[in-house]
Amino acid sequence: GAGVSQSPSNKVTEKGKDVELRCDPISGHTALYWYRQRLGQGLEFLIYFQGNSAPDKSGLPSDRFSAERTGESVSTLTIQRTQQEDSAVYLCASSWRGSREEKLFFGSGTQLSVL
């Protein structure tokens, strides 16, 4: 595709429900990142994948959050038993980890609203 694609673009859910957010990175990009952006706040790093592996999951806010990546491509961020404080825009970015001057390409995000 032309860029990083995220789906859905908007998700409204009830407190306590599980949600899955999807990210399709740019083809060939080996690195994939998830960030959270609360209203009026900066970027909060969640997790990073190199290939299908996530070397460090310490950025995930709680054990209700999990993420996986398959085929060195699509990644899914799952939030179980959603809470109102999970409401935010969830951003995905990808890059090719080949050099120090590489850049991140961001998706347009998933706006999650937990009622």
Partner: protein, 112 residues
């Protein structure tokens, strides 16, 4: 921990005034830092990177090793510069393990 820091959450200037968005870092050597920008209702995107020594949309950023800073500057701000600006760490710095923790961001508001 190694990081980038943006001390200002909000910066408001008038059109035509100079603007400087501050970023300080704690990496050793000459880190390859970046500035990203997010305009209203648009994707977060790269503005400029240290290694390119470029000027994008009139913005420049110089790495100052003595002050460990990478401030973003523009001599004459325009209303269309209003956006959220993020200072970003090196992409592939030894020891970072891929946890790219951006600065908290500075919201620039350029008033007419």
């Amino acid at each position: 921990a190694q990081r980038v820091t943006q001390p200002e959450k909000l910066l408001s200037v008038f059109k035509g005034a100079p603007v400087e968005l501050k970023c300080n870092y704690s990496y050793s050597g000459s880190p390859e830092l970046f500035w990203y920008v997010q305009y209203s209702r648009q994707r977060l995107q790269l503005l400029l990177r240290h290694i390119s020594r470029e000027s994008i949309k009139g913005f420049t950023a110089d790495l100052n090793k003595g002050e460990t800073s990478f401030h973003l500057k523009k001599p004459f701000a325009q209303e269309e510069d209003s956006a959220m600006y993020y200072c970003a760490p090196p992409m592939n710095y030894g020891g970072s393990q891929g946890n790219l923790i951006f600065g908290k961001g500075t919201k620039l508001s350029v008033k007419p």
